[in-house]
Each structure stands twice: as C-alpha cells, then as structure tokens.
C-alpha cells in the first residue's frame, strides 16, 4: 500500500479534545507539507502532546478530523496509522531492553516488512530465515544493511553490537529517532527530542531532522527549546491554552505580540 504524497501531507481540521471540563485542544486547524519541519510550540499545558496523541491515534478527538493526503486517519488504531506512514517518538525514549542497538533497528525494519507495505510480500514474513528461500536471505542482508545505514546516519555506526542498556541518554534518543525513521514515515511526530541533551547531541538530532526533511518527510516538532526550534523549523504553529494563536515563518511568529504575550504571561504565572 502506498500513500499518495501531495504537497499537503498531513491535514488537521478543526480538532478539539475535551477531558471532562477541560478543553485541552480547541478547534485547531493546520497542515504539514511534505519535506518541511513544522514546529509546534506553546507554553506548558498548551495542548501540544495531546495534539500529537490525537494525530497518532492514541486518543480520538472529541471533534474534528486528521487525514493524510486523501486518507482519513481519525478513528484508526495507532498501528494502522503507523502503517499508513505516520509515526512518532515519545518525550522519554523507550528502548527494547535485552536487544543490541542493531537489533533495535532491525525490529522496526522487520515490523515494516511484516506490515506488508514494503516489498517483499507479507507471506515471506513467515518464512524461516536460513531455511528460507534465496529471496529471504537477500531480504535479510538488505535488512542488516539498512539497519547499519540508519545507525550511521544517526552517528551510532560503531555501536551496532552494544546492548541498549549500555547507552547514554543522548544515544538512546538518537537510537529512538533512527528507529522511527526505519519504518519510513511520511509524517514523523517528534515530542521534545532535544530535552536532556547536551549541545553536541542537540546538533546530532537536528542533523537527523534536517536529513529526514531532505528525504521528503513531514516532521512535526514539539520542543521547549524555542531557539533551536525556530532555527530548524520551516514554519511554526503556536498553541496557547489549546487554541492556535499563530502560524507562520519562525521570524514572523517570534515577532508576533500574541506569542510573546503567551510566553511571558506563562512565565509570570
């Protein structure tokens, strides 16, 4: 199954999310284009993570809809949405303990093979490696090559055989990002990928994000480090108390009095 990639990849239309009496996301509309980094910023509690949860299918919105090109996403499960090309990372990287770094990537690649959205066909997913056909052995070799290429792009080339338990926090973050890219997303949602990283690691992550953009991925980036966000984003959407208060280029948004108000107001509270 291939997704028709149009200039507008991800469309969020009038999405609201209510928890009891709290409107965490209030009638938010925007679109993310293929090959751009769309920054999503806003003070704490602005609804950024809830928005990500709605897009990725963890939560179903109270109102509104999300679609990928012509394909509606709202109402589908997380795994269905992921197999359509929308995947995400979490604020705290989650590893598969007990696997090596290379295996962690291979799991995502194998899942992609299994999902059937990538050749070879899904029946081959059941063939036993080693006892399988030549085609299967070729597929395995390709899998390992791709895993190593992804690790190299994330600056983890020499760590393929390390246990995930031995990674430093920043390395976990890079591995998680490489793992997300392994499923070849059309849209990648990154939830605070820079938090807790040192300046060098921040640069590594931003390099990966830019590479993903070049590869045609629409990257949605939630980040508290406003400086870094504005430096990498092509466009920015600003949320405050669940509402979209601004959208535009980084420089326009940074100069927007409403945005400045929201951030300063937040600091005074």
């Amino acid at each position: 199954m291939t997704v028709a990639v149009s200039a507008t990849t991800l469309e969020v239309r009038g999405v609201s999310m209510r928890f009891g009496g709290v409107l965490a996301v209030d009638d938010v509309t925007f679109a993310a284009r293929t090959g751009e980094v769309l920054g999503v910023m806003g003070p704490n509690g602005a609804g950024k993570t809830t928005l990500f949860n709605v897009i990725s299918g963890v939560q179903r919105p109270t109102a509104g809809a999300v679609s990928l090109g012509p394909v509606p996403l709202t109402g589908h499960s997380v795994d269905r949405i992921a197999s359509l090309g929308v995947t995400r990372t979490f604020q705290t990287p989650v590893m598969f303990w007990g696997l090596t770094v290379r295996e962690s990537i291979a799991v995502a690649l194998a899942a992609r093979e299994f999902g059937g959205s990538y050749p070879p066909p899904p029946a081959r997913a059941l063939l036993v490696a080693g006892l399988g056909t030549q085609g299967r052995r070729r597929a395995d070799a390709v899998l390992n090559e791709r895993a190593d290429a992804l690790l190299a792009s994330a600056g983890l080339a020499h760590m393929g055989d390390r246990a995930t338990e031995s990674l430093a926090f920043g390395e976990e973050r890079l591995l998680e990002l490489a793992r997300a890219l392994a499923v070849e997303p059309v849209v990648l949602l990154l939830d605070e990928p820079l938090s807790g990283l040192n300046p060098e690691e921040v640069e590594d992550v931003l390099t990966l994000v830019r590479a993903a953009r070049t590869a045609g991925v629409a990257v949605l980036l939630v980040e508290h480090a406003v400086g870094e966000l504005l430096s990498v984003a092509d466009r920015v959407v600003v949320l405050d108390h669940g509402r979209k208060i601004a959208e535009g280029t980084p420089s326009a948004v940074a100069a927007d009095p409403l945005v400045i108000d929201a951030y300063i107001g937040d600091e005074l509270e």
Binding site: S77, V78, D79, R80, A82, T87, A108, A110, G115, A129
Partner: protein, 290 residues
C-alpha cells in the same frame, strides 16, 4: 520399587506432554494479550470430543483429527471475537472472570452437543508397548511426545527466525512502541487465541486414545496447564515445556505412591509453593514489561 516409580515417571511424561501443550496456550495468550485464559483446557476437550465423535461416526482417524484441530481453532477464534474483543477496555480481574465464564460456557455447550457419555478414540498406530529401561509406554505416547516436539519446534522457529515472530516479540516487549512501527496488536491478539486453541485441540486429539474424553475433561487439563504455566513462568514458552513435564511427573509419582486422588492436590501444592517461593516461575523473568 524403583521399577514401579520409573513406570509412574513414564506415565507422568505422557501427562506432562499434554500439560505442556496447554501451558503453551496459556503463555501465548498471556504474552500477547496479558490475559490469563482459564478456558484453555476446553480447547483440549473440544479437540478430543470432535475427533472421537467423528471417528465413532466412521470417519478415518486422520481426517477426524484434522477437522478436530480446525474446530478447536474456530472455537478459539469465536471465543476471542465474542467474549474477549468486546471487553477489550476491561482490566485484569474482569477479563479473568470473562475467561472463567467462557470456560463454563464451553463446557455447557459440550454437554449440550455430546451429552455426558465418555467417548474414546482408537490409537493412531497399533503395535506393542514401547519398552524403556524396564518401563512401558503405550504406542500412542509416541504420538503425544512427537506432537510436543513438533509444536514447540515450530513455535521456536516462528519466534526466533521469522519477521512475523520478531514483530510479535516486539509487540510483547512493548506494545505502545511496537504499534508506532505499524505492528497490528489486535490481529496478534486474535491470532494468539486461534493458535493457542489449535495447539490445545491438537493435544486433545493425540491424548484422547489413552484416557478417553468426556464433556468435562477440559477442567482438569485447564487447571493442570495453568499450574504448569505458572511453574515454568507465564512469560516463557520453554518454561511451559519444562513446567508441563515437571508437573506431570510429580503428580503421577505422588499419585502412584500415595493414591490417585492425591494427583491434583499435589499439583495445587506445587502452585502454592511456586507462588510463594518463586512467583516468576522456573524460567520466567521477574518483570514482564518495561
């Protein structure tokens, strides 16, 4: 005396082989869905009853066996679709009650279909008892042990060597992350019920020529399989294999030395001891999910 105990051990090996298959069903479903399916033993009964009644109606044994496994798999599929899936928002205790209800319902259905008469199935192959160091095993025991070998080898190859198996292991290790790879968790949950039921049904087919089968036979198999799974570790397929054989042998030896009535009592004593001394089981890990 030693010869006597050895004979009890051999008998226990045959029982243990079936307990191991039922335990494998418990482990598969628990791993993939987090549910302890107390209806697991009924799949054995359905397999045995279907094969026995078809054979009694004149069907050749191999055909009856194949259909019996298929029927058991369908019962597993329907159990998931009708009883588990609609309650997927429910939590642990509720789901345990649902599977207990499912167990009673399946037994009641069997009573309705087959009545209370015991059924028997001819052994798959004739010939003499197999002699082993002075003990003897019925020829059918070879079919039972061979089934264990094939089932566990197939499970090992699937999980260790296929992409699909890797995807299932990822889903087990970390469902939220696995779903962001596009791994279909619900499809796996459905498949775990179908496969667990087919394995149970197959066990029922191969064991039935030895003790026979009636509508309520699933209760014993289910409880023994549960104890075996806990003994081996609910998150470990090798544990299911080990737990099954250990339980079968200990039960049989204790039953032989004391009295047959003690068999199940000893089984439950083991369950209590495991839960107190080593709750994660012989081969299980203490923490299941990160």
């Amino acid at each position: 005396m030693i010869a006597q105990i050895w004979q009890y051990v051999l008998g226990g090996v045959v029982d243990g082989a079936i307990f191991a298959l039922v335990a494998a069903g418990f482990v598969l479903i628990y791993q993939v869905t987090g549910i302890i399916n107390f209806a697991q033993g009924e799949f054995v009964m359905v397999g045995g009853m279907t094969a026995a009644s078809l054979a009694a109606a004149g069907m050749p044994p191999l055909g009856a066996a194949a259909i019996a496994v298929l029927v058991a798999a369908c019962v597993g599929a329907l159990s998931y679709l009708l009883a588990i899936r609609p309650a997927r928002a429910a939590t642990g205790v509720t789901l345990i009650f649902i599977t207990l209800g499912l167990d009673v319902a399946l037994r009641g259905l069997a009573l309705f279909v087959w009545g209370t008469n015991p059924y028997s199935l001819p052994a798959f192959s004739g010939g003499n008892a197999v002699k082993l160091f002075g003990g003897a095993l019925p020829p059918q025991a070879m079919w039972v042990l061979g089934t264990d070998l094939i089932v566990f080898a197939a499970l090992y190859l699937f999980f260790a060597r296929t992409y699909a198996g890797t995807a299932v292991r990822a889903a087990v290790a970390n469902p939220p992350i696995a779903s962001t790879f596009g791994i279909p968790l619900r499809t796996f949950a459905f498949a775990s019920f179908v496969v667990a039921a087919a394995i149970g049904g197959l066990g029922g087919v191969v064991i039935t020529p030895i003790p026979g089968v009636q509508y309520d036979a699933g209760l014993t198999y289910g409880l023994a399989g549960f104890v075996a799974a806990v003994l081996g570790g609910l998150d470990s397929l090798p544990g299911a294999l080990l737990g099954g054989f250990v339980l079968g042998i200990v039960e049989h030896v204790a039953g032989g030395l004391l009295s047959p009535g003690w068999e199940q009592g000893v089984g439950f004593l083991i369950l209590v001891l495991v839960l107190v001394l080593r709750p994660q089981g012989l081969l299980g890990r203490a923490v299941r999910r990160a």
